[in-house]
Amino acid sequence: MSVTPGILEDHYDFIIAGHGNAALTAAAAACDRGKSVLVLEAAPEDFYGGNSRYVEVYRAAHRGEFGVHYARPDDVYTEDDYYNDIVSRNEGDTDPKVARVLADRSLETMKWLATHGIKFTNIVFGHRNWDPDMGRSGFRILDGGMMLMRTLLRNINRTGGRCRFLYNAKVVDMELEGMQFRRAVVEYMGSKTLKIAGDNLVIASGSFVANLQKMREIYGPAFDNFKIRGAQYNTGEPLFAMMRHGAATVGDMHYVHAPGQDARAPRFNGGISMRVDAPPVGVVLNKYGLRFHDEGEDLWIKKYSKWGYYIIDQPDQLGFSIWDSKGWGLFTPTYLPPISANSLEELVNKLTEFGLENPAQALETIRGFNRACPPYKGESIDLGVLDGRATTGITPRKSNWSIPIDTPPFYAYPMRPGVTFVYWSLRVDEHARVLHESGNPFPNIYAAGESMFATVFRKAYIGGGGIGVGATFGIIAAHEGGWL
């Protein structure tokens, strides 16, 4: 039930900053224990949920008991497999205790979500998120993040707890006594300041990638060319407030998870419909018409999140994904129709409107690429396997799926970095408690979801891990609070 400041209680057992997957699982778990909960959401009620609005996949260890979706019927995905995936993808740079909890609790968390009304399906071949790895370990949340949050909201007060929701309320600071959390300082409707007392604070407010001032400090003027794929309310004030109180942080603020986003997308909230998935079927040029990275390096599911990061290093943070009619139908298009033309000359001329500075060089690069492709006789291209169709004699080479761009009509998407989250966050221990720089935990301040994400994922995240850190540590925070 949403409330206004006038009818707030004096004191809550749990104060939860945020309203996404992590916050709502924490709220639901605390309600299950009969606790009083106040959820503080910076966004208005119509726009709650931040990046959780766009989520889809959950990863869980299993023993084949679901029997529906494996590459092989005898396939299992153990807790050790999950843990080893985290360690290997992050090149060993992770907190082993916390990663262990995430892996070991993954199935139990899924069952917990299921008892709160969330439904899961398998991931089938042909789905955008399918690859042999996800097919083995991932589960789709039925109807995605909005349905997850709506279902949790609807079921949240069924078990006797008292959960209240205050929207347009941003946690800007917290009052501590020593290391003990006492009160949250909340900015309501952009101006009014409230102080709300609570026994426990759960920081589940996501990351800070929509904090324009902070991002400009980190990236300089280049940040003005970035797209933020998630909500504009994801400004990270609770994280910076915790930093002022001496909380330890982990990860690198300069390292972002960023797919290529359509340059015509809105600044915020373009979400998944604006993600450019075309690079593996063609080439990607920068604004001077030069290729700069291997488009066919690996399966797209493993590489899509890197393209925005590559584009950050290019002049004016601009890229152009170019392909021809043979590539249509092999990937999911974005919201806006691609720029199309019946000849390459016409196409590159059209692209000058979007910032391409050297169309002659672009033409030369595409023709050079066509000459470097292995002979193509109309065979079908399957992006689900590494087919080894590599170019010869050009740098950088394209390792797979190289087919000449020669069949009109020709298409292009202008691309910008689409920042999703940053591999930087608060540091927590295995009980989800936020750690002080001294290494001791704050006794009653917890973090879940993107706010403690980099404790586990510092180099790369694995598909389905985002919902995992949110839900698992949200539930743990709600279960730990008040016992210790």
């Binding site: 766009y54 398998n122 349905m147 139908g329 999911t332 919201y335």
Partner: protein, 385 residues
């Protein structure tokens, strides 16, 4: 705004929204629209019309959508499909509110006036109760077959027009007919509604089934009656124990119950997804179904009680209501809906289901919560202290 202009505008809007859906697909488990949409990279204007007729108006996709208002993309696929269906149905049927429509609509009431004028004196005829005392059997048969022929002709016209609208690649195949009939009789796609707590979206299934099978039973009763009379030689009216009467009463009761639930659901559902453009029409049709069922039951009740004038009067009202219902159904959204819904599903089963481009269906993972569990599971075996 003219109807054709509105159709063109709504098509544009649908094409815009489906391009967003193409890139997202979070909700693609909900109904046959989404597997059809994924068959090619760009949606065509004809395909949009097919998609609108495959949309069951569950609204699950609306509740699952991250792009609904106040997001600037402003996606609302159920709304767009409701608009499109109405545009298409209006383009396919005679337009009641257009100028020519008014004249035709007025002409349609001539038979009712004639019927009352000719047969009202018969109401006070004595003797044993027989419907043929009110109206000769030949008149009933002739008018019935005229309406039937008109209906069949109109249905064919609608299908031909619809085929030209959706484009040549979507044609039904005979091999898919059995599965489509099963889907139609079972209301298969209604079952995928799973938005938590929207009790009224489940009532849609209930009242649709009641009205659908109520009509079916009354149709069976009518055919059975003519078999009894003309083949077996049992003269009407039949006693209460006759299957014809039993089935007829059951069908009538289902019509009454279905239309009452439909009206109740309409006035208690949330407003955000209520479709005001056909609101009055929906209410009118529900009331007509209610009156047809109620007057039918009333006629039967008076007959069994042996009250001759009341029976005849109720029968006249009943026949009038049937005629009005058929006329409004023919010239509004109902007949196109009755024809195009199963026809589109047949196309779906013929073209989309066997297509290799369609992704395989997703299976629900068998977890305890899928049957609602009130008591949450214990996340930790023992609370840590």
């Amino acid at each position: 705004m003219s109807l054709l202009k509105s159709l063109a505008e709504d098509r544009e809007e649908a094409l815009r929204q489906y391009m967003i859906c193409e890139g997202c697909r979070l909700c693609d488990n909900t109904c046959p629209v989404w597997p059809t949409l994924s068959m090619k990279p760009l949606v065509s204007p004809g395909e949009v019309v097919l998609l609108a007729n495959l949309c069951y108006d569950h609204r699950d996709c609306y509740y699952a959508c991250p792009y609904i208002a106040p997001h600037p993309f402003n996606v609302d696929v159920p709304q767009v499909n409701r608009n499109l269906r109405l545009d298409v149905y209006s383009a396919l049927t005679l337009r009641l509110r257009e100028t020519i429509g008014k004249i035709i609509f007025a002409l349609l009431f001539v038979p009712i006036i004639a019927m009352w004028a000719i047969f009202l004196p018969n109401v006070f005829r004595g003797g044993p109760i027989s419907f043929y005392n009110l109206m000769p059997k030949d008149v009933i048969l002739a008018s019935g077959f005229t309406v039937l022929a008109y209906l069949v002709g109109f249905a064919l016209y609608i299908i031909i027009k619809y085929n030209s609208m959706i484009g040549g690649e979507y044609r039904p195949k005979l091999s898919a007919l059995p599965a489509s009939i099963v889907d139609w009789l079972r209301h298969s796609w209604f079952e995928t509604m799973h938005y938590p707590g929207e009790w009224w979206s489940r009532t849609r299934l209930v009242y649709h089934l009641l009205i659908f099978y109520g009509f079916a039973l009354d149709l069976i009763a009518t055919i059975l009656g003519s078999i009894y009379e003309d083949v077996l030689g049992v003269p009407s009216p039949f006693p209460l124990s006759n299957p014809t009467v039993v089935i007829g009463i059951l069908g009538g009761a289902m019509l009454v119950a279905g239309s009452v639930i439909a009206l109740a659901a309409r006035y208690s559902s949330i407003k955000v997804q209520r479709f005001e453009r056909v609101g009055a029409l929906d209410v009118m049709l529900a009331v007509e179904v209610l009156l047809v069922g109620a007057t039918g039951l009333l006629t039967l009740g008076y007959r069994l009680a042996g009250m001759a004038p009341a029976t005849y009067l109720a029968l006249l009202v009943h026949l009038t209501m049937i005629y009005v219902l058929f006329v409004t159904a023919l010239h509004s959204t109902t007949l196109p809906h009755v024809i195009l819904r199963p026809y589109s599903l047949w196309i779906y089963n013929s073209v989309v289901v066997p297509s290799p481009a369609r992704p395989q269906t997703h299976a629900l993972v068998n977890l305890p919560g899928h049957k609602r569990v009130r008591k949450p599971i214990e996340y930790f075996r023992r609370p840590r202290r």
